[in-house]
């Protein structure tokens, strides 16, 4: 600032000051100094706010001051001296603000102050979402503030009258509003009500307040506020709802509530509801009186209750107690009380809320129940003792019965075996036809009796838990074959078809109990055949199907399926119990002990398996047995290399035989490595390149010509197995007696394999004349040798009867009588017991040969210091080295076979 200008500015008649951007005073002129009665030095550096109190809450200069803008406020010179001033921004230059200061008139200051207050009020009212309205009672005019219009969803430009406002009021509330307005004007009753208004599409709650304005005692208009209280209304409604629900629930549950709050005087103020009051048998005016309440508590429980309550109030421990009340009429009530304390913001327990329930009825029931339980327990103990005694007696009786049955069965079985053996022998002797029939009947009856005895022994063992299941490798197919072969003739006799189907995927060797498995199959198959019949309308069929269980391949499944008489649902439940048969009539008609299925069921269970029966009367039965099995890791080579490299041909005489043909192929291929199986077509006339041939005939009477042709041409000379249906068996045997004939339906895996092996074997066998037609009489008798006594001083040791007779004859011719031994062992015995002078022995004999006998005799002679007996070898070998061997082993001499008389004489002369 230039000096001249500064001087002029300093001397200006108007008070002025200069401030910088920080609102700190940079300069002040003399007029201002005079106005404020302060020196320049006192003002410089002061913040404007330090001496100037702006009527506005914020000093407008702080943010981009505008030239000519005015600011009203007070210069606070001392705590008691104030000066109302108006500051006018006169220049802004590079952040330096020049301000003119003038003493403000009072009205200016008041106006500004009021204006500011109104502005603040208006702002606050808007911020509080309060609408303002006015209604002229005399002329009907009205005013609605912007906020009011906003709340009512009416734009500021839209004309909006009092009638328009009344039009928005919900119909039900119009009368109330008008009544309130009228009452307010007439009787000055406060206008303070809630009603509903239609705002847009919504019906909302509003709270209206108002005050009538009087002029000279006459009501001029009403001014008031309008606020949207929909949210508050909703809260209140929901709260009321919750309170009502709680009240109803508490009433329904006969639950009383109580509470206590810690008041400002440091006292716990108690209150409770009517239900609690009634529970404690208190008068209405005693509500909240904790001492009266405690008086009602049973004296024996009062201290406990006080302690627990104290702990809750001081330590916040949840209050949970069952205690008694002792009422004035000496009635005792049983209460359950629960309470929980709440902490205030200072972490201090300031209230507790709780409930109490009258459990007297429940307590009474509990007492009665306990009494009943006690009585019941006594009765149960007594009854249990009786039952245990009865059980022990029953078990003892059962044990005696089982022991007796087992003993009797065992004792009966032994003589029965004798009976069967005797009958067997009797059957082999020559008998008349009638006698043979009787023997066969006796045999059947005896065997049946043994089966029954065996069953009784088994069921006893099972019931006693003494039956165990073995786990050893066995050939399952052999067991199946064994069972099937037993039943084939029985089925044939009853005109039944017995079918078997074996899954070729089942290993030949499995681990398990072969005997028990056979027993199970034997029983089930026997039953199926027993209860199945062929009639004119229906062919009786029994099928044994053996497969791997599909679920995991670790179970064997045996289905025994028949189309017999079937079993009703009621009987099925009893069927696996011992001594139970389907029906009494069944027992009478079919016989049996009813033990078979019980044994089967128990055996299957012991194996870890299951029997399932599916049946209906007249529709046959299916017994499905599932048992786990273990495959033998190293499958035994059951058939070795018997079929290695063997070529088998299959030939069906019609398409119907293809299934059987495929079954044969699968059985052979799955069981024997190195075998080749070829299925030749029906009309294939090529010569078969095979070692054995299966021919499948499904209708033999019609296929005879075709079969004859085949046997005469393609397979001439080859080993053949003919497979036929059950009805064609006799026809096949009649026409082809030399052929191996098998039943198609009951062909087992083992039968297939073994038949093939036997065929191959037979082809390789020697079939020589057995010389039965030789006429070989008269017999060479011992009398020809004149040595009937067979005693003498020479022992002949020889095993060959012809040679024995020959040498005896020779010795006889030479005039010697001899004794005879048939081998070295007998030779030693005879030498020990007789005093021979010479032994002639064959060298090659069974049991003990001549060499070994000589060694033994020499050893005994040495040990017993006996003189050596001459032993002459009679050897058939007579090869070089034989003489040396004889001498080495202690023999005295030798002659070659056949012994010439001259040689014999010579050696006898030398040694006898």
């Amino acid at each position: 600032m230039q000096e001249a200008y500064l001087t002029q500015w300093r001397c200006a008649p108007f008070a002025m000051l200069v401030i910088d951007q920080k609102l700190e005073i940079v300069a002040a002129n003399q007029a201002l100094e005079a106005m404020l009665q302060l020196e320049q030095e006192q003002l410089n550096g002061l913040h404007l706010a330090a001496i100037f109190d702006c009527y506005d809450q914020v000093l407008p200069l702080a943010n981009q001051p505008i030239k000519n803008s005015e600011i009203f406020g007070q210069f606070v010179l001392t705590p008691t001296t104030e000066l109302n001033v108006r500051l006018t921004v006169s220049a802004i230059d590079n952040g330096i603000i020049t301000i003119m200061v003038a003493i403000a008139q009072d009205w200016q200051s008041d106006f500004k102050r009021i204006n500011n207050s109104l502005s603040r009020l208006s702002f606050a009212v808007d911020a509080a979402d309060i609408g303002v309205w006015e209604y002229d009672l005399k002329y009907g005019g009205s005013y609605f503030s912007e906020k009011c219009r906003e709340l009512l969803n009416v734009s500021s430009q839209q004309p909006f009258s009092w009638q328009d406002f009344i039009g928005l009021v919900y119909d039900d509330d119009v009368t109330i509003l008008e009544a309130f307005l009228e009452q307010h004007v007439k009787y000055n009753i406060p206008l303070n009500l809630d009603f509903r208004l239609q705002v847009g599409n919504e019906l909302r709650w509003f709270h209206m307040r108002g005050e009538v304005v009087l002029l000279r005692g006459e009501a001029q208009n009403i001014k008031g506020s309008l606020t949207d209280c929909t949210h508050a209304k909703q809260i209140v409604t929901e709260l009321n709802d919750a309170m009502e629900s709680k009240r109803i629930a508490m009433d329904a549950g006969q639950i009383g509530t109580w509470k206590s709050e810690y008041d400002q005087q440091g006292q716990w103020c108690w209150s409770w509801d009517e239900m609690t009051n009634n529970m404690f048998d208190l008068l209405p005016q005693q509500t909240g009186d904790i001492d009266k309440l405690f008086n009602q508590i049973h004296p024996e429980d009062a201290d406990m209750v006080k302690l627990a309550l104290e702990a809750s109030l001081t330590q916040g421990i949840p209050f949970s107690l069952n205690y008694r009340l002792l009422l004035k009429n000496d009635d005792v009530r049983y209460l359950v009380c629960r309470g929980r304390t709440t902490k205030n913001i200072g972490d201090k327990n300031y209230r507790i809320d709780g409930i109490c329930i009258d459990q007297s009825t429940v307590h009474r029931y509990q007492q009665e129940l306990q009494q009943l339980n006690s009585e019941l327990e006594v009765r149960v103990v007594k009854r249990t003792q009786e039952l245990e005694l009865a059980k022990e007696q029953a078990e003892h009786s059962s044990q005696i019965k089982s022991d007796f049955l087992a003993m009797m069965s065992h004792e009966l079985r032994t003589p029965m075996n004798g009976v069967i053996g005797s009958l067997d022998l009797l059957a082999t002797s020559k008998q008349t036809a009638d006698s043979m029939d009787l023997i066969q009947s006796s045999m059947t009856a005896a065997k049946n009796l043994v089966f029954i005895l065996n069953d009784i022994l088994d069921i006893n063992k099972i019931e006693a838990g003494k039956l165990s299941i073995e786990e050893r490798p066995y050939c399952l197919s052999e067991i199946i074959d064994n069972v099937i072969q037993v039943f084939v003739p029985i089925a044939a006799k009853s005109n039944l078809i017995l079918k078997v189907s074996e899954d070729p995927g089942i290993p030949l060797m499995v681990k398990g109990d072969a005997i028990r498995m056979r027993q199970i199959l034997f029983n089930l198959l026997g039953n199926a055949l027993k209860f199945t019949h062929s009639t004119a309308e229906k062919q009786g069929v029994v099928l044994l199907k053996v497969s791997l269980d599909n679920s995991d391949g670790r179970n064997l499944r045996f289905d025994i399926i028949d189309n017999g008489i079937g079993i009703g649902a009621q009987t099925q439940k009893q069927l696996f119990k011992p001594f139970i048969q389907a029906e009494l009539s069944t027992t009478r008609k079919y016989g049996g002990t009813g033990l078979g299925l019980a044994i089967c069921d128990n055996l299957v269970q012991l194996m870890g398996g299951l029997i399932v029966l599916t049946s209906a009367p007249g529709e046959g039965s299916t017994f499905s047995v599932t048992v786990p099995f273990k495959s033998v890791e190293e499958q035994h080579e059951i058939y070795g290399d018997a079929l290695d490299g063997v070529k088998v041909a299959l030939r069906c005489l019609s398409d119907f035989g293809q299934a059987s043909s495929a079954r044969i192929a699968l059985s052979l291929l799955a069981s024997c490595q190195g075998i080749t199986v070829t299925n030749y077509g029906i009309g294939d006339k090529d010569e078969l390149d095979s070692d054995a041939t299966f021919i499948v005939a499904t209708d033999l009477s019609r296929e005879l010509e075709q079969l004859n042709g085949l046997l005469g041409e393609s397979v001439a000379g080859d080993p053949v197995i003919l497979l036929v249906c059950e009805p064609d068996i006799e026809l096949a045997r009649y026409h082809y007696p030399a052929l191996k004939i098998l039943r198609m339906a009951s062909l087992t895996r083992i039968q297939t394999i073994e038949s093939t092996i036997n065929m191959i074997k037979q082809a390789d066998e020697l079939q020589l004349d057995d010389f039965d037609d030789w006429d070989l009489d008269p017999e060479l008798g011992s009398e020809d040798c004149n040595s009937t006594m067979l005693t003498g001083e020479i022992l002949i040791v020889e095993d060959n009867p012809l040679n024995q007779k020959l040498i005896l004859k020779q010795m006889d011719n030479l005039g010697f009588t001899c004794d005879l031994a048939h081998d070295g062992l007998q030779g030693i015995e005879k030498w020990k017991n007789n005093d021979y002078r010479l032994i002639l022995t064959d060298c090659h004999m069974p049991n003990l040969d001549g060499y070994q006998m000589t060694q033994k005799i020499r050893e005994i002679e040495r040990n017993e210091q006996r003189s050596e007996i001459p032993i002459i070898a009679v050897t058939g070998a007579a090869m070089s080295g034989d003489a040396e061997r004889c001498y080495e082993l202690g023999m005295s001499d030798f002659v070659s076979k056949p012994v010439q008389l001259a040689d014999l004489r010579k050696v006898l002369t030398r040694w006898y």
Binding site: K761, E765, L766, L768, D769, D770, F771, W774, D775, L776, D777, P778, E779, L780, D784, D799, N800, P801, L802, N803, K805, L806, K809, Q810, N813, D842, H844, G876, K897, P898, V899, Q900, L901
Partner: protein, 108 residues
């Protein structure tokens, strides 16, 4: 080598034709039994065991002068020891024929 050399027997027991015949028939009985055993052993694949039976019959054959038979039995003994089934079969068939010849000679 003869089917039946009667001189052999003559040298053993002297010139008693009736007794000789009895020994020959005794041999044939023995041979019939041995043939059954040998065939059975062959069919049961027990070729090695044939050796013992062949040896047994061989001494009898030699004694009665059934030279051809004894020779075949000697061969059979060796073949059986080697477990040669095919050759065994041939030898057994030859033996069968030889025995038939002996029977024929005895009965003639």
């Amino acid at each position: 080598m003869e089917v039946l050399n009667r001189n052999v027997m003559r040298e053993l027991i002297g010139d008693d034709n009736q007794l000789m015949k009895k020994f020959e028939l005794e041999f044939l009985k023995q041979a019939r039994e041995s043939m059954r055993k040998i065939t059975g052993l062959y069919n049961n694949n027990q070729v090695v065991l044939i050796k013992e039976e062949a040896h047994f019959l061989k001494t009898s054959a030699k004694a009665v002068g059934a030279e051809l038979t004894a020779d075949i039995l000697q061969q059979l003994e060796l073949i059986a020891q080697e477990n040669n089934k095919a050759q065994c079969k041939d030898a057994i068939v030859q033996l069968n024929v030889a025995l038939k010849q002996v029977y024929g000679a005895v009965r003639s």
